[in-house]
């Protein structure tokens, strides 16, 4: 009995350290807060796979709207051209509307519970393959670029343009303009390990 409790306490202590590490890497100001827009990345880096909807609910639990967040400027994905930003008439020197931040003290208990309960488990490889096969109604072994774009950006929890571009850049075979999903999955799995 006591032994089991000990083990659970050690497990919790280990989770705490792990969560702290993952959090700190995004805590750019070293003040135990992260920008709310990074929280999804942090949770997923800890091995969990919440849907966008579930993530939204999680954030609501831990979010603190505040005045100390660092305003970020969203930058387009295009990294080659010189990009002109912030040239509209909005006064630059006024106090910018912060997006909000997440405090570590609030995040820790919520995340610990998620890890303890093993919530938001990642998708096994075979389930993923099956999902692609379902979309490939003609059973060709591939999806065309247009088909993939349509599914990913119009259905479910739609991709942003950035997300779509990133998926295509790795998945697409430029010659056939299609995605051999079996190869794609294998490649991603290798990369992760």
């Amino acid at each position: 009995m006591a032994d089991e409790k000990d083990r659970e306490e050690t497990a919790v202590a280990e989770f705490h350290k792990k969560i702290k590490e993952a959090f700190e890497v995004f805590d750019h100001e070293s003040n135990n807060t992260v920008d709310v827009r990074e929280i999804g990345t942090i949770i997923r880096s800890l091995g969990c796979c919440p849907s966008e909807g579930e993530l939204h609910d999680l954030i609501a639990e831990v979010f603190t709207p505040g005045s100390e967040g660092t305003p970020h400027l969203h930058v387009p994905a295009d990294a080659i051209e010189i990009v002109q930003i912030h040239s509209d008439s909005q006064s630059f020197l006024e106090e910018e509307e912060p997006t909000g931040y997440i405090r570590f003290e609030k995040f820790l208990p919520v995340m610990t519970e998620i890890l303890l309960e093993r919530r938001y488990r990642p998708i096994p490889e075979d389930v993923l393959l099956r999902a692609f096969e379902v979309l490939d109604t003609a059973k060709r072994g591939f999806l065309t670029k247009d088909e993939l774009i349509k599914y990913m950006t119009e259905e479910g929890e739609p991709f942003s343009q950035e997300e779509m571009e990133e998926m295509l850049s790795a998945a697409i075979d430029p010659e056939s303009n299609s995605i051999n999903y079996k190869d794609y999955i294998s490649m991603m799995v290798i990369d992760e390990n």
């Binding site: 400027l73 990294a79 020197l93």
Partner: protein, 628 residues
């Protein structure tokens, strides 16, 4: 949040399939971003640790000053003579001593400089030509002359037809400078630039960058260049003097302060305007009083001490040659501070100098001196720039791919009174830019892990000692938490060790670390078989410090130092750094390096002998992956 099924007639199965794929992809993408962030954290943490090492090196120079007793009388007299003669020579005589041979293919500059000279220089550097030392010196002399006439803060006024462009750290990245000039135009009277420090060090083309900036400055006189840190050794003396004459900062339109690092709660612009900036000899050592016990005189450089005679180290000069301490501290704050979100002003423990200043400090200082904004550099930002403190502090960083291919973008900012600042980003591209995200992250990650492992190997003995101390049962394994604790305390790097562990070491089914597995595929090549591991590691770890020290002792730049000098220096070094190395081992190595048996050591060969061999770099992964 949006969660739509499509129109009528679609089976819920396909909706589920789409959701699965989207969910998986987002998870995968997030993990990529996290890996990228880990790699950046590694680079940054090692960079700052290296900066701290520099400070230790400078302390060592002080220590050497007080204790180095290897002096041969005749040599002193001879060298003192040559020294004073050089000092007395004015620029023209000195430069005239240098001949440019007819065979020289590089650019030949005419003074006073014209636009043609700038073009010539740019073309030459694009074609990877080298500028002859004579022209380098002439440019430096002329620049110094001009800088002397400038006040501590350069004042610039903008107008609709004359915007000013502020660039941040370049770190010797010539390609970034070319890109900026290409997109934004060459510097001129109507297109003024401010280069906000750190234009050299680390990058391969530091000298070229410096030359282009100096030449542009000489031609156009409407810029300011402010403080920088230098690690290079070329033409050190002239450069040292030139640096002391660089302005401290710039003020644009009487409302924007441009400084390299930042501010502190005690920053006093009036004082900074008034002080004699050329007396700021060293950022790394505070001004000292002379010790009358040893009758020597010296010049302090940015690195600490200039050692300028055979075996003789010159010590502190008259105290009137240096800034008073409180002025020195004001300059340090300007150069080394970093803005942070936390209110207040705290010592900058990351860098060992300056402070961390909060938004309240910014408001206070800006109000006090009727300014609106601070533009600073000093920190690498992924997007090339960052705005904080409610828009009052801007960081601008102009060296893209600073840590590694694709680590970050570079940026510059254009200012004109009455309009908003405009930010321009760029990245010097290579084929890598067209690679998909996962490949770019992989490359960066591998590079970061590699330098981290080299760090580990240089502390191998200490690490093993710490591991074994924790491993009571001598099982060769430790729980992850204990392994992480040892890593952090020995290496002194604040990194996410648990997350990185799978890249560094083998972990078994139970989550325990086989701590010796880190050292399997990597070792330091020994110059001689008999050298023991601890010695080899120590020499490897300090090799860049040793190189600097050797070069300092080697006053005739022959690449050789005498055995006696080596032994004397080594004794001091090991005592200062508290190294418990068997001196006979070191002697053995030194003797082996004395290939000609003429009593002198080729230290480049000596140091080159220690390099790290990476064998087959990927670790064998265990069956079970630890997911939570």
């Amino acid at each position: 949040h949006k969660c739509s099924g499509s129109g009528t007639g679609k089976a819920p199965l396909s909706l589920r399939a789409v959701l699965i794929i989207q969910n998986w992809f987002r998870g995968y993408r997030a993990r990529l971003k996290a890996r990228q962030q880990y790699a950046l954290t590694i680079f940054q943490s090692i960079e700052y640790a290296d900066e701290q090492d520099q400070i230790q090196l400078c302390n060592f120079f002080t220590f050497m000053l007080e204790n180095y007793k290897h002096i041969r009388k005749e040599e002193i007299e001879l060298s003192q003579l040559t020294e004073s003669k050089l000092d007395m020579m004015d620029k023209q005589d000195y430069v005239d001593l240098i001949d440019v041979p007819d065979s020289y293919q590089g650019p030949r500059l005419q003074f006073p400089l014209t636009c043609a000279d700038i073009d010539l220089l740019l073309e030459a550097f694009k074609g990877k030509q080298i500028l002859h030392a004579r022209y380098v010196l002439e440019v430096l002399f002329e620049t110094k002359k001009l800088l002397k006439q400038m006040p501590n803060f350069t004042q610039i006024q903008t107008s609709p037809s004359k915007e000013v462009t502020v660039c941040g750290d370049l770190h010797g990245k010539l390609d970034d400078l070319f890109l900026i000039f290409y997109k934004n135009g060459l510097p001129s009277g109507s297109n003024p630039y401010v280069f906000n420090g750190d234009f050299v060090d680390r990058g391969r083309n530091s000298m070229e960058v410096l030359m282009i900036l100096c030449v542009s400055f000489l031609k156009n006189k409407t810029y300011s260049i402010s403080y920088l840190q230098i690690h290079g050794k070329k033409i050190l003396q002239t450069l040292e003097e030139l640096y002391t004459w660089l302005p401290i900062g710039t003020i644009i339109d009487n409302e924007i302060l441009v400084v390299h690092g930042g501010i502190s709660e005690t920053t006093d612009l009036n004082l900074l305007h008034r002080l004699e900036r050329n007396k700021m000899k060293s950022v790394l050592m505070p001004p000292k009083e002379i010790n009358k016990d040893y009758n020597t005189d010296s010049k302090h450089s940015k690195l600490g001490v200039t050692i300028s005679a055979h075996g003789r180290i010159k010590a502190s000069g008259l105290s009137s040659e240096h800034l008073p301490k409180h002025e020195w501290e004001q300059v340090i704050d300007i150069l080394w501070s970093d803005p942070r979100g936390k209110k207040g002003c705290f010592p900058n423990t990351g860098r060992g100098g300056g402070c961390y200043f909060g938004p309240d400090i910014t408001s206070k200082i800006l109000n006090k001196f009727q300014l609106k904004m601070i533009i600073r550099s000093h920190e690498c930002k992924p997007e090339g720039y960052e705005i904080c403190h409610g828009g009052k502090v801007v960081t601008i960083f102009s060296a893209s791919n600073y840590y590694e291919e694709d680590s970050n973008r570079g940026a510059y900012v254009k200012l004109c009174s009455g309009t908003n600042p405009r930010f321009f980003q760029y990245q010097v591209t290579d084929a890598t830019c067209f690679q998909p995200l996962h490949q770019r992250v992989s490359t960066m990650e591998n590079s970061a892990i590699k330098i981290l492992r080299e760090r580990m190997i240089s502390r191998k003995s200490d690490l093993i000692h710490a591991f074994q101390h924790q491993d009571r049962r001598k099982s060769g394994k430790l729980p992850v938490s204990q392994w992480a604790f040892c890593m952090e305390s020995i290496l002194g790097l604040n990194l996410p060790w648990r997350s990185l562990s799978s890249n560094l070491v083998i972990i078994d089914q139970n989550g325990n670390v086989e701590y010796m597995s880190s050292f399997r595929n990597i070792h330091i090549e020994k110059p001689i078989k008999e050298a023991n591991s601890a010695l080899v590691e120590t020499l490897y770890r300090y090799r860049s410090d040793l190189e600097i020290i050797f070069n300092a002792i080697d006053t005739d730049h022959s690449g050789l130092i005498s055995m006696e000098e080596f032994h004397a220096m080594w004794k001091l070094f090991s005592s200062h750094y508290n190294l418990h190395i068997d001196n006979s081992q070191v002697n053995k190595i030194a003797n082996m390096m004395d290939l000609n048996r003429d009593g002198s050591i080729d230290f480049t060969e000596f140091l080159k002998a220690f390099y790290v061999v990476h064998k087959y770099e990927t670790m064998v992964k265990p069956e079970a992956t630890n997911l939570a």
